[in-house]
Symmetry: D3
Subunit: 136 residues, 6 copies
Amino acid sequence: MKIAIYRKEHFNAAHRLHNPEWPADKNEEIFGKCNNPNYHGHNYDLVVKLAGPIDPETGYVYDMKRLKNVIKENVTSKFDHKNLNLDVNEFKKLNPTAENIAVVIWNILREKIEIKYDLTVRLYETERNFVEFSGD
Amino acid sequence: MKIAIYRKEHFNAAHRLHNPEWPADKNEEIFGKCNNPNYHGHNYDLVVKLAGPIDPETGYVYDMKRLKNVIKENVTSKFDHKNLNLDVNEFKKLNPTAENIAVVIWNILREKIEIKYDLTVRLYETERNFVEFSGD
Amino acid sequence: MKIAIYRKEHFNAAHRLHNPEWPADKNEEIFGKCNNPNYHGHNYDLVVKLAGPIDPETGYVYDMKRLKNVIKENVTSKFDHKNLNLDVNEFKKLNPTAENIAVVIWNILREKIEIKYDLTVRLYETERNFVEFSGD
Amino acid sequence: MKIAIYRKEHFNAAHRLHNPEWPADKNEEIFGKCNNPNYHGHNYDLVVKLAGPIDPETGYVYDMKRLKNVIKENVTSKFDHKNLNLDVNEFKKLNPTAENIAVVIWNILREKIEIKYDLTVRLYETERNFVEFSGD
Amino acid sequence: MKIAIYRKEHFNAAHRLHNPEWPADKNEEIFGKCNNPNYHGHNYDLVVKLAGPIDPETGYVYDMKRLKNVIKENVTSKFDHKNLNLDVNEFKKLNPTAENIAVVIWNILREKIEIKYDLTVRLYETERNFVEFSGD
Amino acid sequence: MKIAIYRKEHFNAAHRLHNPEWPADKNEEIFGKCNNPNYHGHNYDLVVKLAGPIDPETGYVYDMKRLKNVIKENVTSKFDHKNLNLDVNEFKKLNPTAENIAVVIWNILREKIEIKYDLTVRLYETERNFVEFSGD
């Protein structure tokens, strides 16, 4: 028997969408105003989902305080109030689209969360644009 | 590897729930105040989900601006500020319940979105009543 | 000493913006898609604010259950799942803009709420368009 | 062909997390401030999902008014404005974590909803901590 | 020139509405299910508003981090995961209605926030029931 | 008789809080992580409020479509997907705190909105930190 638990966190960051192998006009055409060389930014909302059995002694799947701390130590503290392109190693050579940010976060957390728990990451770039990745 | 992207749009419309093959008292009994002959209305929120691989050149599954335009041209522009029963062809003979509206939107979008992308439509009639259809 | 209390209710209704003294093209120009002759609709959110002293025996300014019932009996039950233009007497000759709906609701409630309480009505037509009236 | 429908309800309750087989210091260590012997409380949001075929006569998967009543009669009326530990039989010997509350609600509803409908229960303890159970 | 700043915090607490000078049946009649002797609870949202001039050196009215800390040290840390009736001194003899909680919080903060700033406290007991106090 | 109307818009931007007349350590002490030299960013929500009489011919205080366009042409188009410090003239020498951004927006709109309408600007930097300015 499996039950899913969800924890919502957030971080505020600057970013720019850009492919360095393309000329300026193609970057402008594909990424539009997201290609602004001086960056823009977002309040990102992050929802982390773990699925597993309920521990009969605690009634928990996974301690929410522990999950909150795992996310803060490994993700939020590195991304919050940062420029994703310039300040975060994972995006030195990777375009920080919502899709790529979600995959990077999933990979970071997958190493910290025991494999017996299924892991899904949902990332809201805005209230109207969001993505979800489960590692499949 | 698949990742899901979501785009949220909305439209405001009038509708009435009614089965023309039933007598008035049965329509009243089954549909209650939703059967009001003069119509009532809603602010519908529509969330469209596509799942597919990330394009390594763009970092996108599907360009959100393109998805937004596909939804606006094929759904929102036809449904927004309309009377679903009277103004929208698909509901001339189909009861515009949230379930049927979601299936109609899914069918419209399925023709416009390449088949390699999984497609799911979620429709909020109110904050408390909503439906989701994936074509299965 | 005054403190304000707020109660949020909602109703779903159809309406059409139209001035019968204008020709069709002027109605179209001024009201745009809101002039659709077959109506459209909204999920209206209504927030009623009363301000007055705290009753020392109850700790209440005004019993929320009583306020909820006053709103339901006098406003919601008459507006919900209705066509404002056709089904609600107050709009037989009054254009049901958000502004006019708020003033109508304020006038209805002002007669039911003792004058010692200040009264304000806020009406959300959508999340992005809303109005507020205090009777001043 | 299956489509999912969702109904959101809520209840306000007090609870305390505690394992009577553990000493006080272990309860304090594991459950932290949630172990407060005088209880604390939450506004719980409950989203019930049913999946099944659309009835061609009504256009409904399941009448939302009926679903709302099933939830109110069997869940909300028993949990709302209650102390889960003291007032609700199911938690006399079961720790009322969000996980366990969701499973209890799922079991209650599974008996009331015909088996042909898939059933999922999502429970928000706060906006940032929530769980979901599908009976698997 | 004055500008208002707002900071939103929250706390989760149990409470019971009760007037010890009334017989049980009157408490039941006036407070209904809120009078449950075993308590119930809420996720309270608290919005604190300060109004004052902008400091030209910082561009701030009041440092948000400092405001957040003032609220946490003086309000949230004393109310969160507590039983308001049993664990919080201010409600030993005062009925913890939303109105009274807001006045208590306003009085606590008024002593900690320099008098040159106007102070308003808004407290959401639920999304639909809330109160606001400005000390007037 | 006056009634208030509100229009909500949004923009996504990067910014950095910094006082060039202070040494690095004082900037770090006062602005903390908001002083990151590579910028961070936000999804800003902007609510513009106008108060005035209802035009009896239209039932409007001010045409919402016109208000939406005034905001887009004069504010959103200049701030959205920009770096406030580098790309927006008003912040070349002014620290882009929420307070200062709100005053700048109010000044821009005050020139475009006839003086007979009272004008208030509310700006959400995050859901939990926001400011409001009325020109007083």
